[in-house]
């Protein structure tokens, strides 16, 4: 197991280098530079700006310089927000994004697993249809629709909760967490129901049933382990996706997180900020996929054998 983890960590290095390299050249190919503005920048000014940020160097040299700095953990200064370094901006934005994602995933797991498991126990009855229909609606309902609806109802009409901010007014963290977690709860409900149904039809469960074990015992002791395997596979990328996808929620609720910076950086052609955030997210994605795989192995001895043996 330890060897497996070390191996995976070593594999992460080429992944991150690959991501950094591809992104570096990709953003340079995108039209429009960081200083392009509605009002044309006078050529003599542009020349000085390019010099300052070494954009007049040959591309290979810019790349080499960037990689050298990167290996020292330095993402460089932001182009759009020049008094901030990318490291500063990540440090400033990550806590809000992480906290939001954490609440959202907890909400999704609690609601989603409960609904999925209950539905699978009485498949094709009302206990199945109602939560699964709700889940379908949850999936159809993108955050950019759900967020404004929740805001309209709880923020404007009822006036119970603040409509924007993060940690500024009491209760302002509830709606964004629910909005972000809702779709994931729905996915988890559907996936866990599917996984549970698969497991419940397996022979060892039928044997357990035949032995007259209680439903609770069957579910929690025998079925759940196998049943939530697909949920775990989903969770790794989902958490990473949650971090990156929090952009919409962060914009709707005015949360000072990384997602908003990421998308704005792409639109602003803020080269260093895009790169820094991409690499940072890549790191998180690798990390969470690794965690998901570890849990997967731990839940399934046969896979463990498979991975550990090699």
């Amino acid at each position: 197991m330890l060897r497996f983890i070390i191996q995976r960590c070593l594999q992460a290095i080429p992944v991150l280098l690959l991501v950094a390299t591809v992104t570096f050249f990709m953003i340079r190919m995108a039209p429009g530079g960081p200083f392009d503005n509605e009002r044309a920048v006078p050529p003599e000014v542009l020349k000085h700006l390019n010099e300052r940020y070494h954009l007049d160097d040959p591309l290979w040299k810019q790349y080499a310089d960037y990689m050298v700095n990167l290996l020292q953990g330095d993402f460089g200064p932001s182009f759009k927000y020049p008094t901030h370094t990318v490291n500063d901006l990540i440090a400033a934005g990550f806590p809000a994004t992480a906290e939001l994602s954490l609440y959202a995933i907890l909400f999704a797991l609690v609601v989603g697993l409960t609904a999925g498991v209950f539905a699978s126990l009485r498949s094709n009855t009302m206990q199945d249809y109602i939560p699964m229909s709700a889940a379908m609606i949850g999936i159809c309902m993108p955050t950019f629709v759900l967020g404004p609806i929740l805001l309209l109802v709880f923020g404007i009409w009822l006036g119970w909760l603040p409509v924007a901010g993060w940690g500024q007014i009491p209760g302002d963290k509830i709606l964004p967490s629910v909005t972000l977690g809702f779709a994931y709860a729905a996915y988890i409900a559907r996936i866990s129901r599917g996984g549970m149904l698969d497991v419940l039809s397996q022979d060892y469960i039928r044997t357990a049933k035949a032995k007259g074990l209680s439903t609770a015992r069957i579910v929690f002791v025998h079925a759940l382990r196998g049943g939530i395997t697909p949920v775990i596979s989903f969770l790794g990328p989902a958490i990473a996706g949650l971090l990156a996808g929090s952009f919409v929620v962060e914009s709707i609720f005015q949360i000072p997180g990384l997602g908003r910076f990421y998308v704005m950086a792409a639109f602003n052609r803020d080269y260093t900020l895009i790169l820094g955030l991409t690499i940072f997210f890549a790191f998180l994605i690798v990390l969470f996929n690794l965690l998901a795989d570890i849990v997967l192995v731990w839940l399934n001895p046969k896979v463990r054998q498979d991975l550990g043996g090699k």
Partner: protein, 296 residues
């Protein structure tokens, strides 16, 4: 799956036709699934016939009328430019259904094959393939799309590829996870020991046995693909006004949901109905294709 079902599993490939017939028979018995199928077929037929049966032209404006609630002349109301909403939803279905099905099919094909191969072959190949998936996950999607539009212009084909290119990643991970779990089961090991080619094992034994989660995930992918399309239009890829799609109607409707709720309600409703149908059909298919389910 235990040893006593082994022969059936191994024979899957040999008597495919009868199994398919079997599955169809089971599907026909599932009322919800059949209802879903009919609704979807109905949608597709409407989408195809739209140019001939739409009550108005999708671009015809009536600025003096502006946004109006449902009425006898406009069953689903009109948008802020006075265009008939029913017509725009009907035309939108042509784009959205096509995007939903084709892009998902692209994602499905790549994702399932990639995940199954990685999971089955294992070892170095698995590591490299999955790390590629990790890397692709991390690339900045917005910049990727902007580049595509700049290099190739704005075409529908590109739209399918772009969406397919991002949506297959999660599919691949799910399938790989499933394959890892089942590849140590007896029927696969038996198939290996019988000397069947890896391709045959993957396509005939592994993939059919991961279909459950795959179908579930597919029914979930189609809606997100339909909505993703509106974000890509935002970046300049895909349909251009005055053409409409469900995604663009919905994202436009959100903005004015307080003032003109029908502009969000009806496109949202149509999308929801489609997804419910898909979902029922998906569940039905899943049950029908699963040999174990029939025994319950």
């Amino acid at each position: 799956m235990s040893a006593n079902t082994l022969p059936t599993a191994l024979l899957d490939s040999e008597k495919g036709r009868s199994l398919t017939q079997d599955a169809i028979a089971r599907l026909k018995k599932n009322k919800m699934a059949m209802l879903g199928l009919f609704v979807l077929l109905f949608m597709v037929v409407i989408a195809i016939l739209t140019p001939w049966i739409a009550p108005y032209s999708y671009e015809e404006q009536n600025l003096d009328l502006g946004a109006s609630p449902p009425s006898a002349a406009h069953w689903l109301g009109t948008d802020t430019l006075g265009r008939d909403q029913l017509t725009r939803i009907m035309y939108g279905s042509r784009i959205s259904l096509m995007v939903g099905f084709i892009a998902t099919a692209v994602a499905l094909t790549i994702g399932v094959l990639w995940g199954a191969i990685a999971g089955f072959v294992g070892g170095r190949v698995d590591a490299v393939m999955m790390r590629i998936v990790d890397a692709l996950y991390a690339l900045p999607f917005t910049i990727f799309i902007i580049l595509l539009t700049v290099i190739f212009g704005s075409s529908m084909l590109l739209l399918f590829l772009a969406i397919g290119a991002v949506e297959w990643l999660t599919m691949a991970r799910i399938v790989r996870g499933q394959v890892l779990t089942i590849k140590r089961q007896e029927f696969v090991e038996a198939a290996i020991s019988m000397g069947l080619s890896p391709w045959r094992i993957i396509t005939r034994h592994l993939i059919p046995n991961v279909l459950g989660p795959v179908i579930v995930y597919t029914t979930l992918t189609i809606p997100s693909v339909i909505l993703l399309e509106s974000f890509l239009s935002f970046l300049g890829l895909g349909i251009q006004p005055p053409a409409s799609s469900w995604g663009s109607l919905i994202s436009g409707g959100v903005e004015t949901m307080e003032e003109y709720p029908w502009l969000l309600l009806f496109p949202g409703l149509v999308l929801t109905i489609t997804l419910f149908s898909l979902n029922f059909l998906g569940d039905g298919l899943r049950d029908a294709l699963d040999p174990r389910a029939s025994k319950d």
